[in-house]
């Protein structure tokens, strides 16, 4: 695939393009298919161990997939094709608190971006026949769709994502603990949140999940405004969840704010990575491919 073609495909991962698309299913399909077309020679292809068929070797195929036993028997080159497993149970935890509704200069709000991300992951999982569930929460669980892999499940999940509205204050730790207690088998939990709460309870909840043997991937979704604090002029900053007000001159407050944000990020990174949890910070103005790659990486580790 040429560079021009790759660029054309990646274009469909751009949030600005995605925001104009209609249904969540269309968005998710666009993201996943655009993403997969860019993974033509990706090493992530074929993580499943279930054999599917033999196929005659063609130049360009990975030599590691050659079945040397067949070659010994038939003196012909065949490569093995695998079908991915269907026994993975994945839970998507999407933060729908009021802060997730924030949209600064990015084309999508954090909730929209997180929804598209969740939908894309669900779509990808569905293609791999994994069971996918959805939990949407703010300070409590507002919506729950149990994990399943039947054909109509994806549609229900995407429909639920499309109908999500921003809620109240967030309490990320609470659904984490509830989910940790509810999970009976090893699963993959994907948390999509801006994680602007007090980090300690969040980390504790995530470690709880990890303690129960669950693989956890954390996507911290942040608006570019939250990452760069580009405001100008003295302003009264009002919290979307707590209604707290702070009057500050951004020119003077920017450095301290960014220092605090970096400290928060480093704390999550340090604590979660130490607990074997993948932590990825996402910018809502950036394409979703990085998030999907992170997911696949976590998926492969679970093998």
């Amino acid at each position: 695939m040429g560079a021009a073609s790759a660029a054309r495909d990646l274009r469909f991962l751009d949030p600005a393009i995605l925001s104009r698309l209609g249904t969540m299913e269309l968005k998710a399909r666009t993201v996943v298919e655009g993403f997969l077309s860019g993974l033509h020679r990706s090493p992530y292809k074929g993580f499943s161990v279930e054999f599917a068929e033999y196929r005659q070797y063609l130049p360009g195929d990975d030599l590691s997939t050659l079945d040397w036993k067949v070659y010994a028997r038939t003196d012909r080159y065949y490569v093995k094709k695998y079908e991915e497993e269907t026994n993975l149970e994945c839970h998507l935890l999407l933060d729908q608190s009021a802060s997730m509704a924030y949209r600064g200069t990015a084309p999508m709000s954090k909730l929209e971006y997180g929804s598209v991300l969740a939908g894309s992951l669900a779509f990808l999982m569905h293609r791999q026949r994994d069971a996918t569930g959805l939990i949407a929460f703010d300070e409590q669980i507002r919506f729950r769709l149990p994990a399943a892999s039947r054909p109509g499940h994806l549609h229900a999940l995407l429909l639920a994502l499309e109908r999500l509205q921003a809620g109240q204050r967030s309490d990320v730790a609470r659904p984490l603990h509830q989910l940790a207690e509810a999970l009976l088998k090893r699963s993959l939990v994907v948390l999509i949140s801006d994680l602007l709460d007090d980090p300690e309870p969040v980390i504790k909840g995530l470690k709880h999940l990890r303690f129960r043997g669950t693989d956890v991937v954390v996507f911290q979704v942040l608006d570019p405004d939250e990452l760069t604090f580009p405001f100008r002029g003295a302003s009264k900053f009002k919290d979307l969840e707590t209604a707290q007000e702070v009057v500050a001159d951004p020119a003077r407050a920017r450095t301290a704010y960014l220092r605090e944000l970096t400290g928060l990020t480093l704390q999550y990174d340090r604590e979660l990575r130490g607990a074997g949890i993948d932590y990825v910070q996402l910018d809502t103005s950036q394409p979703l491919d990085f998030a999907l790659l992170t997911y696949l990486s976590a998926r492969s580790k679970r093998k």
Partner: protein, 611 residues
């Protein structure tokens, strides 16, 4: 701290504007919905404090700038600082020509320097040099400036006038306490002819004697005569003096004559010489111990010789007494009587050569003669009109275009006398105290003249004008409202008639544009205020001589000097304080510092207001 214009301080109320804006705009920061306020809240509190501090600094700078601006307009000053410098010492040095006597001016300068040295701490010192004029050569300031100014002084050619220095010192003191130190040779003549000087009681006068003059010879007068040049030498010394008068014509010596002058007297010395028709002469004497400036006198010779006066008469109005009176002037005038017919028919051209014209009759005066008289007056000549029965008021009024209604003749006899109303008028000045004798003259008929546009130096006892004087073109007209031929009065028989007639003709014959002898103190701009023959801007030569009053050796005692000054109360307190405050403020100029500080405050505001 006080303010010259305190009402401007109301402008400081404008500080309310930034304060109100500060209060109103304190919370105008727009609401911005945000998510990570928790992170923002951890540190921006300090930032907000800094911002508030910065706002306060900005507010303070703006308020300070406005207050300073209002204060600068209110012109602040410190009365206390002025009180420290309240003392003023004025050192006045006489620089009249009498101070040029040997060693006298050096002594005066020493006295002036010692007077400066006596100044107290913080006492300001001013220096005045005076003769007829008082000139401030060092404004109130330090002793160094005063000494420097004193060292530049030199005696001039003027005459001492104490009133001038008293007036100038009063002006400098401006009602405040001051000491005037007068360093002079204390000539009594310094008060001659002066209105008594007035000085406030707050002005202390300290007289320092630089050495009284005791000997002096002066050339008091210089005139031509048939026999030569008559030189009057005045001896102001206490003993007789001898010497030689040297006469020079256009700078070349043409004759000498010895003189012997008794003590305190004058002597006329005739230097034989055939008087030239033009040029200038000077008479010089040797007087090494006296005043140098009055040792020489100058005179410009004119071709005209003795001035002639035309008396226009008729049969009844013969002008007999007037002609005799002019003859008594000692040859100063050559009077010529003519009748109307004699200058009629175009023969009036002779009028233009006269020094003055006396009109005693208008009978048979044709238009050409009238026009000639009017032209003569308007080109600078002098006309004397006596209100004789032969003079028609209507003719006079028509000649000059005056309102004929302003002249009427008494319909019936009456008894009045005459009194001067302006003793300083040149016509009556020589009379001095004798002018009162004019009241003994009996008048029984006069003209009644409406004094519009006339100056009235004398009037009759019923208030109607007796002597009237007015300008007409470049010349002058004097109207005597009664007869001079003893028909309407007995004036011609009175002793005052001769000087009256002579002074009137002398006054009228002195053409203002023909001055040939002026005093040093009255030289016009452009000429050097020093004795000698100089040239006027119109090319005419003029003899500049010193004021002979300064040649006098009569002196005053310091106590007499002080007694000659009339003490008056200082100006009313309020105006004096106001003047003092203005001067104090002008000296301190605090408003300039206020404006500079305001600029500093604005600069600080700009600096603090940077984002």
């Amino acid at each position: 701290m006080s303010f010259l214009y305190p009402l401007f301080l109301l402008g400081a109320l404008a500080v309310a504007i930034p304060i109100v804006l500060h209060l109103l705009r304190r919370d105008v920061a727009p609401d911005v919905p945000f998510t990570a306020v928790r992170l923002l809240r951890k540190s921006p509190v300090d930032r907000s404090r800094r911002r508030r501090l910065r706002d306060l600094l900005l507010l303070a700078a703006r308020v300070t700038a406005l207050v300073l601006l209002a204060a600068a307009f209110a012109r602040p000053y410190s009365p206390r600082a002025d009180a420290a410098a309240a003392g003023l010492r004025i050192v006045a040095v006489d620089r009249s020509f009498s101070m040029a006597a040997p060693g006298r001016f050096a002594a005066a300068l020493d006295l002036a320097r010692s007077a400066i040295g006596e100044a107290g701490f913080a006492e300001r010192i001013a220096v005045i040099a005076f003769d007829e004029r008082a000139e401030v050569v060092a404004l109130p300031g330090g002793a160094a400036d005063a000494r420097a100014a004193v060292s530049t002084l030199a005696p001039g050619h003027g005459a001492t006038r104490y009133a001038a220095v008293i007036e100038k010192a009063t002006e400098l003191a401006s009602g405040g306490p001051a000491t005037l130190v007068v360093v002079s040779d204390l000539q009594r003549a310094g008060w001659d002819g002066e209105i008594r000087a007035q000085a406030p009681v707050s002005l202390t006068i300290d007289v320092r004697n630089a050495g009284m003059p005791t000997v002096n010879l002066a050339v008091a007068d210089l005139r031509t005569d048939k026999a030569g040049v008559v030189v009057a030498v005045r001896n102001g010394s206490a003993s007789a003096r001898q010497g030689t008068v040297t006469l020079a014509h256009n700078g070349a010596t043409v004759g000498r004559a010895p003189f012997n002058a008794e003590a305190e007297s004058s002597v006329d010395v005739t230097v034989p010489w055939k008087v030239a028709a033009s040029g200038s002469i000077s008479a010089t004497i040797e007087d090494p111990d006296g005043f140098p400036s009055d040792n020489t006198r100058h005179l410009v010779l004119t071709r005209a010789g003795t001035p002639t006066v035309m008396v226009v008469q008729s049969g009844e109005a013969s002008g007999f007494f007037l002609l005799r009176a002019l003859d008594a002037a000692g040859g100063s005038f050559e009077a010529k009587a003519v009748t109307g017919p004699e200058i009629a028919g175009g023969r009036a051209h002779e009028i233009s050569t006269q020094a003055a014209v006396i009109l005693l009759s208008t009978r048979n005066l044709d238009r050409a003669a009238r026009d000639a008289i009017v032209g003569f007056v308007r080109t600078g000549g002098g006309l004397f009109i006596a209100a004789a029965p032969e003079v028609e008021p209507g003719v006079i009024a028509a000649m000059f275009g005056w309102d004929v209604a302003g002249f009427t003749v008494d319909p019936a006899p009456r008894q009045v006398s005459m009194a001067t109303t302006d003793v300083r008028h040149p016509l009556f000045r020589p009379f001095g105290g004798l002018a009162a004798n004019l009241g003994q003259i009996n008048f029984h008929q006069t003209w009644r003249v409406r004094p519009d546009q006339w100056h009235v130096p004398a009037q009759f006892s019923d208030g109607s004008p007796a002597v009237l004087d007015r300008s007409e073109g470049a010349g002058r007209v004097v109207l005597f409202a009664s007869d001079v031929d003893r028909r309407w009065n007995d004036f011609p028989l009175h002793p005052a008639f001769v000087p009256f007639a002579v002074e009137a003709v002398r006054y009228l014959s002195t053409r203002r544009d023909a001055t040939q002898d002026i005093l040093v103190s009255r030289v016009p701009t452009g000429l050097v205020p020093a004795p000698g023959v100089q040239t006027l801007p119109d090319g005419r030569p003029v003899a500049v001589n010193v004021d002979l009053r300064e040649s006098s050796t009569a002196v005053l005692a310091p106590a007499e000097f002080a007694a000659a000054v009339e003490r008056v109360a200082p100006l009313a307190e309020a105006p004096r304080d106001a003047i003092k405050a203005e001067q104090t403020e002008a000296r301190q100029n605090l408003w300039q510092y206020g404006l500079m500080l305001m600029l500093v405050a604005l600069a600080a505001e700009s600096f603090a207001g940077r984002p």
